[in-house]
Amino acid sequence: MTDVDASHRQRRIHEVFAALFVSGSFVTGMTIVLFWALCTVLGRHLVPYDPLADDILNALAPPSAEHWFGTDQLGRDIFSRVIVGSRDILTVAPLATILATGVGTVLGLLTGYFRGVVDDVVSRFNEAMMAMPSVIVALLAIVALGTSETTVIIVIGLSFAPVIARTVRSTVLAERELDYIAAAKLRHENSMHIMFVEILPNILPPILVEFTVRLGYAIFAVATLSFIGFGLQPPSPDWGLSISTNYSMISGGYWWAVVFDALAIASLVIGINLVADGLQGALND
């Protein structure tokens, strides 16, 4: 009797996945992101040249069979640098986002679940954090603590946490009104159990979406910090740094010194947003 019924409902679960993979944006985005992830992990083994190897007499050579994307002002192979350039940003930004998501989720759960004075204070605090653009917060902290990848990760992570906390808090507020929470209390479950075992699994979809969205912003922030000289330092082949040192080259005709790095950033952020968009669509349907 329930065969039809159950299989029908099971199909809805599959539909989320089906929707994801039918969704052009998700597949395209995922392909781009996976490509860069691959470059991050294997980049140095994939590229034809050492990204740091200069050949200064062959500086600013246009794209050719030998150097697909040409060479930069020190004669380094731009193709190799662009491929390997994903490494730092795709290490720093995801770690920062994971930190932000972790801290934000815990904060959001605590404040949303307990409410009260703690909530009021933490919420005001979050608002105070959100009053400052994250790049500014990062700048302030980097100046105070000194530039290092760890600092950038921690600072970006902590400056994004309030936004995630706010999202999580609002979903928790809705969630805690549901009766399964009352049911858990009627089993004398402790608050930890209720927050992390009962509520958390149910708010994972919005957290996942928020994670992807924030990842896009983290890349934005890390690239910006590099560009203004407060992030990754030379000779890292980081894209933001490359653009920062080369951007006036375009007008002199050496477009390849900038364009490929710019395309790399653009493709990565667009890829991540396509994934976020796809996820959002599939989880909301």
Partner: protein, 687 residues
């Protein structure tokens, strides 16, 4: 036959989801004559609302008409150009739907929204407002000028629906579609709205398509009725015939599911319809009802029956003449609960109150409630929204701490107000089945985990013991082990509620609070759940506090009943006494508001005026602002005493039980409509 106002011809509608097209309306043909009221009934998911939206060509983006045509007042709706369609909507057809709060624009004043209808009709600006006021008067809004100036959220649900009806009638439509217009409203408000529609029918002369899941409402309102099942019209005919002698097995079974007037659990279990509705889009090779029909044979499985004319009505069944003899779904001799013999009090509540907020903003939602519960007994809690019944239940559970002063005792020992301070055995002794299983079950946990966790925490079981208990419990609530690995969203509403029931029984509770456990379920499923509760009570000698707004269900299940109004118990007594009278005037109104299919409708006691807010209760008797039996100044000044009408039957009223009995007997004789009409104006101004 005159030309019908609305005519559907073999209409089919599907929804696209992903790559698939799901048929939700299949091959529906019907006609509604001018001035006729046609009721379309069916359980959720049968496609009734889709029919309504198709008529006005307002299907969701993914909806698509896959066949057939709609003809409204001579126009082929599907073929109209945008301007013609707009004009048709402006002049010919109006619609009123469920949830009037959402149907009105929250950021525009009521007057503006109403005047807009006249704007569309081309009425000069100066005349629009007076005509809007006129419309509001027409739907019996006592203070139309003030209502015009308000925003929708400043009106009560009943008022909102009146405004919506006024808007629908303003253009004097030839076709009025009412899509579940009273669902979600309180019984007394529902009755008012239905009265209003019934009264207006005579004035407007429009054809009405009345859509509802509530058979009784349709029976009351409509001339002709069509029964939808899985997007198909399975039976159609005059209302009296359909409800009096149904010819389709589904209609028959559906009507049997509802507790009959006066039926209680001691009379036996309810009938139910086993199985499930075919999902939308399912490929039907035979009769859609075949899997649930005890009469089904090979032909039913192989061949979709045609609608056939059976003497003034249409039936989609191969064997329409057999339906009347449909075998009952329950065998005789099922275990039935015995009425509690010895009066061992399990739960005792004295002077319980609950106040939210503080100072000027204090809202007292429960006031000074005292009641008791005996072993194996079911206490029904009845009341409309805002009556405090859910808060009371949550106080019993310890989820909401009561105000200081009151007390709850379990087995004679005081029970802490807050859950945290209750002992393990006290916690597991009082459990609950929530109204909405979607909310009550953690959607990311499997059934096994949900029930298993409860067994572990409440029953203290571990290991193989737990596994054994789990199997027992699952069996007891009539789930199969197959369901254990599924997650709630993979289950139907009925199955979900069984999981919730299993969870509440995991720790062998003494008291289970059932908070409207079937109100989110279809009639056919409701019966099965009520049966399950009955069986569990018989087997485990558990006591229930059963909350419901459905008096029929309460009467079926309860041994005793308490009627709540604005946080106060207005009447409490044995079930048969509360239904027999004498009654508190509020109970009387409640009882008379319930539409019933049987047609032996007593005269309605009309409550006028708005239900007061708990933040600002009327002085004296809290019911005096709406009471049709109000006897004068005393009601406005002093709180009425509680009198014991008969042993164990208490009424909180200034009028003596004897007088109440007399008045109410008169009314049943048909004499008191006048009285209620008379009393109406005096209280209407309070709104």
């Amino acid at each position: 036959m005159t030309k019908p106002t609305l005519s559907l011809d073999r209409l089919s509608v599907g929804y696209r989801s992903g790559e698939r097209e799901h048929a939700v309306v299949r091959d529906v043909s019907l006609q509604i004559a001018p001035g006729e009221a046609y009721g379309l009934v069916g359980e959720s998911g049968c496609g009734k609302s889709t029919v309504a939206l198709t008529v006005v060509r307002y299907l969701p983006r993914n909806g698509k008409i896959t066949g057939g045509s709609v003809n409204l007042d001579g126009a082929d709706v599907m073929q109209l150009g945008p301007e013609a369609l707009r004009s048709l909507r402006a002049k010919k057809v109006s619609m009123v739907y469920q949830d009037p709060g959402k149907a009105l624009n929250p950021s525009l004043k009521v007057g503006r929204q109403l005047a807009e209808v006249f704007e569309v009709m081309g009425v000069p600006p100066a005349e629009r407002e007076p005509r809007a006021v006129e419309m509001l008067k027409k739907v019996r809004i006592a203070d139309p000028d003030s209502v015009m100036q308000r925003y929708p959220h400043q009106l009560s649900g009943g008022m909102q629906q009146r405004v919506a009806i006024a808007m629908a009638l303003a253009n004097d439509p030839t076709m009025l579609i009412l899509d579940e217009p009273t669902t979600g409203l309180d019984v007394t408000v529902e009755a008012e709205v239905l009265d209003l529609v019934a009264d207006l029918r005579n004035e407007i002369g429009a054809s009405i398509l009345f859509i509802s899941h509530n058979l009784a409402v349709v029976a009351k309102m409509c001339d002709r009725v069509g029964v939808l099942y899985a997007g198909m019209l399975v039976e159609e005919g005059p209302a009296r015939d359909i409800f009096g002698s149904p010819s389709h097995p589904y209609t028959v079974a559906l009507l049997r599911c509802m507790p009959h007037a006066g039926q209680t659990k001691t009379h036996g279990l309810l009938e139910s319809i086993p199985g499930f509705l075919p999902p939308p889009g399912a490929q039907l090779s035979g009769c859609p009802f075949v899997k649930r029909c005890p009469l089904a044979d090979g032909r039913c499985r192989a061949e979709i029956p045609e609608l056939q004319d059976c003497g003034g009505r249409l039936v989609r069944c191969h064997y329409p003449d057999r339906a009347a003899n449909l075998p009952p779904s329950i065998e005789a001799g099922d275990v039935l609960p015995k009425p509690p013999s010895e009066a061992a009090q399990i739960l005792r509540v004295s002077n319980l109150s609950k106040t939210y907020g503080q100072g000027n903003h204090a809202i007292r939602v429960v006031t000074d409630v005292s009641l008791s519960l005996q072993a194996g007994e079911t206490l029904g809690l009845v009341g409309e929204s805002g009556s405090g019944k859910t808060t009371l239940a949550r106080m019993l559970l310890g989820l909401v701490p009561p105000d200081p002063g009151g007390s709850i005792e379990l087995d004679g020992r005081p029970l802490a107000g807050s859950l945290e301070r209750r002992r393990e055995d006290e916690v597991k002794a009082v459990q609950i089945v929530f109204q909405n299983p979607d909310s009550a079950l953690n959607r990311s946990h499997s059934v096994a985990r949900i029930i298993g966790r409860a067994l572990r925490r409440l029953g203290g079981f571990r290991g193989t013991d737990l596994a054994k208990r789990l199997d027992n419990l699952v069996e007891a609530v009539r789930l199969s082990p197959r369901h254990l690995t599924l997650r709630p969203r993979q289950l139907s509403g009925g199955l979900k509620q069984r999981v919730a029931i299993a969870r509440s029984f995991a720790g062998d509770p003494r008291v289970v609070v059932c908070d409207e456990p079937t109100s989110a379920l279809d009639v056919s499923v409701q019966a099965a759940i009520l049966n399950l509760l009955t069986e569990l009570q018989a087997a485990r000698a558990v006591s229930y506090v059963f909350i419901s707004h459905d008096l029929g269900v309460v009467r079926y299940l309860s041994d005793r009943i308490a009627v709540l109004y604005l946080g106060r118990v207005m009447e409490m007594g044995p079930s048969e006494r509360v239904f027999g009278g004498p009654n508190h005037p509020y109970t009387e109104a409640l009882l008379s508001a319930v539409p019933s299919i049987g047609g032996t409708q007593t005269n309605r006691i009309r409550l006028t005026g708005e239900s007061p807010s708990a933040a600002n209760p009327p002085p004296g008797c809290v019911f005096q602002s709406r009471c049709p039996r109000k006897i004068g100044g005393i009601c406005e000044v002093s709180e009425p005493p509680v009198t014991e009408a008969e042993p164990g039957h208490f009424i909180r009223c200034h009028i003596s039980a004897k007088d109440l009995m007399r008045i109410q007997l008169q009314n049943k004789g048909g004499a008191s409509t006048r009285r209620s009409v008379q009393s109406a104006p005096s209280v209407a101004t309070l709104s």
